[in-house]
């Protein structure tokens, strides 16, 4: 399947679904993190310049910690999100979709160096595109995965219609198609919706605005609305 969904069956017997994040948002997120890190280092550099040589030592230690442990810190303590990942709605999880632990996070970030080779994360990007779930080498070794953190979906606002019962011999598939049309009534333009409604002229015997109104009414009935 050409799909980025990632399913995990939980002990409760349901399939949890997540969408694996591809190279592009991850590279962008990484760029944001690099920006923040540079900012911190520059700030520290200015602050520690007053401490002369001793400040240099502290600055070097900080830069070491930032280089290797900045992602670890955020991934474990901030729900799998470095600031960059947060900006792009990504999060790191274990491959059973549980929160990432210290061990796994340290492994995936130590192996970052191997992913970086020979330059600009070439190995990592190749590994990501070859694998099923966009895992770079560090992810493979640590058993982790970068997924999209779904944003809250607003509950669907139904269009204001009086529900009408569906016509006879209306199959389940037809019902589903109708409901998803209703569900997307905010995302599709009115003209396109009417166009889609026109396709059903053999069943509804209506065209244009009237057909759409009718389909909405039926959809609302199917969802449980009563006139």
């Amino acid at each position: 399947m050409l799909d980025t969904t990632y399913n995990v069956e939980t002990p409760e017997g349901i399939d949890l679904r997540a969408r694996a994040a591809g190279p592009v948002p991850r590279i962008l997120a990484f760029a944001v993190d690099v920006f923040y890190r540079t900012l911190i280092l520059a700030g520290l550099g200015i602050g520690l310049a007053f401490a002369k040589t001793a400040g240099m030592g502290i600055w070097l230690i900080c830069s070491f910690l930032l280089e290797w442990f900045y992602p670890v810190f955020f991934e474990v303590l901030r729900g799998g999100q470095t600031p960059g990942k947060k900006a792009f709605g990504l999060m790191v999880v274990n491959d059973n979709l549980t929160p990432i632990s210290w061990g796994a996070s340290i492994v995936r970030n130590l192996l970052r160096f191997a992913d970086f080779l020979p330059f600009a994360y070439a190995t990592g990007v190749i590994a990501m595109t070859l694998g099923r779930n966009f895992q770079r080498l560090g992810d493979l070794a640590a058993g982790t995965l970068v997924v999209y953190r779904d944003t809250d979906k607003v509950p669907m606002a139904l269009p204001d219609t009086t529900p009408l019962p569906p016509p006879r011999n209306f199959k389940q598939q037809d019902q589903l198609a109708l409901i998803s049309l209703l569900e997307r009534h905010d995302d599709l333009s009115e003209a396109r919706q009417q166009e889609l409604a026109n396709l059903l002229e053999p069943i509804t015997a209506k065209r244009g605005r009237a057909a759409l109104e009718y389909l909405r009414a039926v959809g609302s009935w199917l969802l449980g609305g009563r006139g």
């Binding site: 939980t10 409760e12 017997g13 349901i14 399939d15 949890l16 679904r17 997540a18 401490a51 002369k52 040589t53 001793a54 240099m56 030592g57 502290i58 600055w59 070097l60 230690i61 830069s63 070491f64 280089e67 290797w68 729900g79 274990n94 059973n96 979709l97 549980t98 929160p99 990432i100 632990s101 061990g103 796994a104 340290i106 492994v107 130590l110 192996l111 970052r112 160096f113 191997a114 080779l117 190995t123 080498l137 560090g138 493979l140 070794a141 640590a142 058993g143 779904d150 809250d152 979906k153 509950p155 669907m156 389940q172 409901i179 998803s180 569900e183 199917l222 969802l223 449980g224 609305g225």
Partner: protein, 323 residues
């Protein structure tokens, strides 16, 4: 049941769970929620919603809710019956001994090139220039020149601190890279081990040939006990990763790699600690010239002895009871 009725029936419990999940810190007001029960109910509702082919938006919403609750219910935690103290006293040396063959291989990859280059540069004064630029050779010589008191003068403590930072960043970075390179079928680790071996061997041979023995050896012997062994161990940890890919045994490569990384990390945590100790010694002890050379050599030899005794003996008694 129609979707709308279903939604109406459960809307309150979903909202309650949602607020509970969001208010992580301010738990006091909604602390009455029984998370496992609420989570099980939610799972059942998601299964029902999927079975009844409710709208994808509702299913997405429930899936998202289940995922967040799942994150709270399940946390992968390594079952550590014994804490880090046990790791230091027994776990680390045990892990090193358990992978003795790989550690031996890493040592050979490091020491053999070092030996060859050491003997080579000792006997041939031009060979050093094969691995180092002439400028670097000059600065290396001046660093350990007994007549030159640059290293000899007692540095201020602020310089020590600066050097400590430098050693932390540089040396631990090298060790981490040596480890990480191992995932490329072991090639990266082999490269870094051999490269560092050649470089170090060349420096040792050259300095000995030039005759700066009285400054060089007292300087390196102390932290070398930790630093050189740590580089070898980091290489060994990397080789473990590489071996799992080259020869995964009974497992699939991805599984073998996962298992190997757990094993390798047992070595890497200790290696990290050893490198911090090495950086500390190198910055604050090795550079000091107030100590007589005999004491520095003696103390350094003692450290080597300690390190080897630690890996050879520590955690032997407890191993029969563990697991």
């Amino acid at each position: 049941m129609r979707q709308r009725d279903f939604e109406n029936r459960h809307r309150d419990s979903w909202a309650q769970l949602e607020t509970w999940l969001k208010n992580d810190q301010a738990r006091a007001e909604v602390a009455t929620l029984d998370l496992p029960a609420a989570y099980r109910e939610l799972c059942q509702q998601l299964a029902v919603a999927k079975e009844r082919l409710y709208t994808s938006r509702l299913i997405d919403h429930l899936n998202q809710l289940v995922t967040s609750a799942h994150h709270r219910v399940y946390r992968q935690q390594t079952l550590r019956r014994k804490g880090w103290l046990h790791y230091l006293v027994a776990g680390f040396p045990q892990a090193v001994r358990a992978n003795g063959r790989v550690v031996a291989l890493a040592s050979a990859l490091f020491l053999l090139p070092a030996l060859v280059m050491g003997i080579g540069t000792y006997n041939n004064d031009a060979l050093i220039y094969a691995v180092m630029a002439p400028g670097d050779v000059l600065s290396l010589e001046s660093m350990y020149d007994p007549g030159n008191r640059v290293l000899g003068r007692e540095r201020g403590s602020d310089t020590d601190l600066a050097m400590f930072g430098f050693y932390i960043k540089n040396n631990i970075g090298i060790a981490f890279r040596t480890f990480a390179g191992g995932i490329l079928f072991g090639l990266g680790s082999i490269f870094f081990l051999v490269f560092n071996g050649i470089y170090l061997g060349a420096v040792f041979g050259h300095i000995t040939r030039v005759g700066f023995v009285t400054t060089f050896y007292p300087f390196v012997i102390g932290h070398g006990a930790f630093e050189l062994t740590a580089i070898v161990l980091a290489g060994a940890a990397g080789l473990l990763l590489g071996r799992s890919l080259v020869d995964p045994g009974q497992h699939r490569r991805s599984v073998a790699l996962r298992l190997a990384s757990v094993e390798a990390m047992k070595i890497m945590y200790g290696t990290f600690l050893m490198l911090v100790i090495a950086a500390f010694l190198e910055a604050f002890w090795s550079s000091s010239t107030a100590m007589p050379i005999a004491i520095k050599l003696g103390f350094g030899a003692l450290l080597w002895l300690l390190v080897f005794a630690y890996f050879a003996l520590a955690g032997r008694g407890g191993s029969s009871h563990a697991s």
